[in-house]
């Protein structure tokens, strides 16, 4: 544990590298590194897998740091990237795009619908919680209410959806990394990098904010402004993830918990580590999802729960708190 804390980036970086390499090699057909470049050309499968691996890194890492932010600012261990209704809004937007048949008009209809839905939900949450000065309590309450309204509308839409469309919606709701598009990945990658660096810049203030807004104020932090900024930062990360790959649960909930248990709570030390572990975790789940039954992938959302759940329970049972 002491070694891990002294070199917090070493193990997750190594894990990410190895799992990413495995992600390029393994799949429905094994592609050995010697086959990557042959007869003066890159293997066509390599490009597809590279996009998937890069996308998974961006989504996994982004969801993990989004969860890290939400758990700290809402001071709620159950908070996760979708606590403020971003997933509900995104799911509603994407489902509308599928049900209304807009998907047939453009390949970007579903991700576009998801992004618009997620941003509208976030906007509504911020608007409603404005009367409570965007305090963590008012944000949490408005987020839960907006999420519940979206979930009810989504359930209604599903109840009137035709059978052939239902499969597409269900697959999307469980997370889907198969259709990642490089043109959509670029803005997400740029934003995620920006968010990561900004979060590292603000990490000391995030530590103070995790004690509560009043305490943070006494420690020299403009708590209200920081809270608003971090909510936007984290929600946009979640919105990009929803737009790219649907709703991938669990990653943003358990990775921050696991990282804090191993490395401590000082956000100055765990921002990059959380990103790397989130990316590694989702890559591992993706690798399993397409390797267990190569003919038919298991939805990524199912795998994140099946892999992450037992790891988390094990950590809880071992009570891996901070050994001095």
């Amino acid at each position: 544990m002491k070694f891990l804390r002294r070199y917090p980036l070493l193990l997750p970086a190594l894990a990410l590298l190895l799992i990413a390499l495995a992600g390029l090699v393994l799949g429905s057909r094994c592609l050995w590194p010697t086959e990557f470049y042959q007869s003066g050309a890159w293997h066509p499968l390599l490009g597809l897998r590279l996009v998937r691996v890069l996308g998974t890194i961006i989504i996994g890492g982004g969801l993990a740091i989004s969860g890290l932010i939400f758990q700290a600012i809402l001071r709620n261990p159950l908070a996760e990237p979708f606590t403020l209704g971003v997933s509900g809004g995104g799911a509603l937007g994407a489902t509308l795009a599928i049900v209304l048949g807009v998907r047939a008009l453009s390949q970007y209809a579903v991700p576009g619908g998801a992004l618009i839905g997620a941003l509208l939900a976030l906007g509504l949450v911020l608007l409603v919680s404005q009367s409570g000065d965007w305090s963590s309590e008012s944000l949490l309450l408005s987020g839960v209410i907006v999420g519940t309204i979206c979930a009810s509308l989504l359930t209604y839409l599903l109840s009137i959806t035709q059978h052939e469309e239902l499969a597409g919606v269900t697959w999307w709701l469980l997370g889907d990394l198969q259709g990642l598009d490089l043109r959509l990945l670029w803005p997400a990658a740029v934003y995620t990098l920006f968010a990561l660096l900004l979060l590292r810049w603000l990490a000391g203030e995030l530590n103070a904010l995790a004690l509560g807004e009043e305490q943070a104020y006494y420690l020299g932090v403009n708590a209200r402004r920081l809270l608003f900024l971090l909510v936007l930062l984290a929600s946009l990360l979640a919105a990009f993830a929803v737009c790219l790959a649907g709703i991938i649960s669990f990653c943003g909930l358990i990775i921050p918990h696991i990282v804090r248990r191993i490395y401590g709570c000082d956000h100055r030390k765990i921002v990059f580590t959380t990103f790397l572990w989130g990316a590694s975790f989702l890559l591992l789940c993706d690798l399993l999802s397409r390797s267990i039954f190569p003919a038919r992938e298991i939805p990524i959302g199912v795998l994140t729960a099946l892999v992450g759940g037992p790891i988390f329970l094990l950590l809880l049972k071992r009570g891996g708190h901070y050994a001095a």
Binding site: G264, C265, D266
Partner: protein
């Protein structure tokens, strides 16, 4: 460093909780703010710290209006210990005390030798060094309160505003903390909220007695804590006595 408050008034909606409150805190001052529950003590502290905006009146530091200072600058000058609370995340004792250095830490570089020295000194003063790696959530209420105070000391501010810093402490620790505060190097100005009249009489150079948001007495404890004032604020009979070592103490009993 001079903290001045003039004619502060604060209401929560139509409920006026602080009326016409004035105060001057000079270096080395040790002022205890007393008053029954709900008399507006914590609201006064929040106004003095700038957390609540003044609705009437003004708080200034060396003649500069407090609200015009940057957040980091204000935190370097005024350290505040709010009432005891439990952090949600599993911060260690050392993490929490280092948070006292937040306004002095560079954003990207790790804490420097001066920061570690301040943290270790604060931990040592409060006898917490052996708990430095322990999760704050696993501490007792009294230990957590001492950790909060250590964070305030690590802040190295010239004005300390402390809201009931001894409320969860046993008598020995309470005494040790009051001794520590009254002998702090650098002569910071201290304003301390307390319900302990005996220690207020013993350690304070000035007391302010609040009742229903108004100052009903202020000055040296011997004069401010008169029988009439105590009766008026707490509805208790009282008597100021001197013990065998010449220390002042206050005896309270139910009013007849």
């Amino acid at each position: 460093m001079l903290l001045e408050a003039r004619h502060l008034r604060y209401s929560y909606r139509s409920d006026c909780v602080v009326q016409d409150f004035s105060l001057t805190l000079r270096p080395g001052d040790f002022t205890v703010l007393l008053g029954p529950n709900g008399s507006g003590k914590s609201t006064v502290l929040r106004l003095l710290a700038g957390y609540l905006p003044t609705q009437q009146g003004e708080v200034s530091l060396d003649g500069r209006v407090l609200s015009r200072l940057s957040h980091r600058e204000r935190a370097r000058l005024i350290a505040v210990m709010p009432q005891n609370h439990v952090p949600t995340l599993d911060f260690t004792v050392e993490d929490i005390v280092m948070l006292g250095r937040n306004s002095r830490l560079p954003r990207l570089a790790p804490p420097g030798p001066a920061d570690w020295a301040a943290v270790h000194s604060a931990l040592d003063r409060l006898g917490l060094r052996h708990l430095s790696g322990r999760s704050c959530r696993r501490l007792s209420g009294g230990e957590r309160q001492r950790v909060s105070l250590a964070a305030v000391l690590a802040q190295e501010a010239q004005i300390l505003l402390l809201d009931e810093p001894c409320s969860a402490l046993d008598p020995a620790n309470s005494l040790a903390v009051m001794e520590l505060l009254s002998t702090l190097p650098g002569s910071p100005a201290i304003l301390l909220i307390s319900h302990d009249l005996t220690s207020a009489v013993r350690y304070a150079r000035q007391v302010i007695l609040l009742h229903e948001g108004r100052t009903i007495a202020s000055g040296p404890p011997e004069s401010a804590l008169s029988h009439e004032n105590i009766l008026s604020a707490y509805h208790c009979a009282s008597e100021l006595l001197r013990d065998s070592q010449g220390n002042l103490c206050l005896s309270l009993r139910s009013a007849p």
